[in-house]
């Protein structure tokens, strides 16, 4: 037998250990007519899951890893990113731990789900690609997503994608892109969960501009003193909008928001989500060839 110092056995044990660890924070969420789906323990009494599997807001049942069944209420949902947060009527969960580092292409990954009371299920693969931002079928904008070659078995939506140590790389869902399975990276999912826990919904910011991407001339790039070749030329500023009140003008080239570079409209939308809403944020522009930063109080899109 090939047992001694067989690294394949070590790998196999590590994989089974990782699934066992994930099993402790992966729950079954029963909130639709078809087969149930999965969820991730976010806190002792909070479950993060996919929004599209919540078909009814009352009588949501959660099956915990220890086999007990607890009813849950909907805390908040963000259909744009296909995420929902549930609160258990009584706590009893071991919260999941997000991976310390973002996922890398080629990294070993295991999709885990609890689609039935028969126990945990898993599927092996690698992180195939990292993409985004992308507009979702629900009119949202996903800042970043992971693709893997794991098999998305029925009921896996809402469950975790884990690394070889059992930490969460992201939340799996087939509800964002016409049934194609994607994974929402853990950092993004946790950020949205935090917002849902606090506000019940994700606030989306509003500037009141129309823009188009333009290539930056050599002199403009020099004024920025960083590697950025494209900015957003403002072609319209709505009257009385946050942008107008802040003093943005048609002809300005928007190149950054809140200290982060912006070079396409999707990126701008992604940066206008969450905590930034309602607060003055530094908007970085090029005006007359000069770099300027103007504080604009971001409005809320209704």
């Amino acid at each position: 037998m090939v047992t001694e110092n067989n690294p394949l056995v070590a790998l196999s044990n590590a994989m089974a250990d990782a699934v066992e660890r994930a099993s402790a924070f992966t729950v079954l969420v029963d909130a639709r007519r078809r087969i149930p789906a999965s969820g991730i323990a976010y806190a002792a009494n909070l479950v993060l899951t996919a929004d599209h599997i919540i078909e009814r807001e009352d009588e949501i049942q959660v099956l915990l890893p220890d086999g007990s069944q607890v009813s849950a209420i909907l805390v908040g949902r963000d259909s744009g990113n296909d995420l929902a947060l549930l609160r258990l009527k009584k706590p009893g969960l071991v919260p999941a731990e997000p991976a310390a580092h973002p996922a890398r292409v080629g990294q070993l990954a295991i999709a885990v789900g609890r689609p039935s009371s028969e126990g945990i299920q898993a599927s092996l693969g690698v992180v195939s690609a990292i993409g985004g931002p992308a507009r979702t079928g629900q009119g949202g904008l996903l800042e970043q997503y992971l693709r893997t070659d794991t098999v998305p078995y029925p009921g896996f939506s809402g469950g975790p994608l884990i690394d070889s140590s059992g930490r969460v790389l992201g939340l799996n869902t087939s509800g964002l892109a016409q049934g194609v399975a994607l994974t929402i990276p853990a950092a993004l999912a946790w950020k949205i969960a935090g917002v849902l826990a606090e506000h019940g919904s994700v606030r989306r910011g509003y500037l009141g501009i129309r823009s188009q991407p333009v290539d930056l001339a050599a002199q403009q790039r020099k004024a920025l003193s960083r590697e950025q070749n494209v900015g957003l030329l403002l072609v319209h500023v709505e009257d009385e909008s946050p942008a107008a009140k802040g003093g943005l003008l048609v002809g300005d080239i928007l190149v950054g928001l809140n200290g982060e570079p912006v070079s396409d409209p999707d990126q701008l939308l992604a940066r206008l989500v969450g905590e930034i809403v309602g607060k003055p944020a530094p908007v970085e522009i090029l005006r007359g060839g000069q770099r300027q930063t103007i504080p604009v109080t971001i409005g809320e899109r209704k």
Partner: protein, 206 residues
Amino acid sequence: MIELTTSLAEATSNVVRRVQRSLVVLHNGRQGVGAGIIWSNNNPNKHSGRTLILTNYHVIAHGRRLRAELEDGAEYPARLLAQAPEFDLALLEIDKGDLPAALIADSRSLRVGELVLAIGHPWGQRSAVTAGLVSGLSTAQTRDPDQSIEIIRSDVRLAPGSSGGPLINANGAVVGINTMILGGDQGIAVPSHVASAFVERALKGH
């Protein structure tokens, strides 16, 4: 890291090589082939010079002139010793001794997430290997509504011709018999402890 991946690759090919020697091709007088495993290199009830081969019932059902083809290409007529359609298992015997039997693991200690390899003849491709993990451990109902059977779900890719071949663990020991493909992307295997019990019952009956 290069060292780790190299030693993983070496260990995988050693494990696969070990099991490939215990794999046979089963011809049932019709089109297509199935896989079988050299389960035991002697039938304790008979004199030596015989070998027991385990496969799926559906591989040999309705077949005439069963033949087992060994790794070196030699073919032997196979006799059906016992069958269990409810578990989709069949036990065959050939008149040839000294063949390498597969290692059999106790599938009762399997864990979800364990690495597994499937070896068979998908689409007739001899001794092809696919890798994955144990996706789930559950039970399924047999055709008898009062009877259920334990099953291993795995995400290894299977195809016609994989049937009857072994699902092995990282040690190269058989944990199940690959039996069915669900929805194209989930393999169902009969656990080795169920297969062992079937073989034991079959040999007592003879």
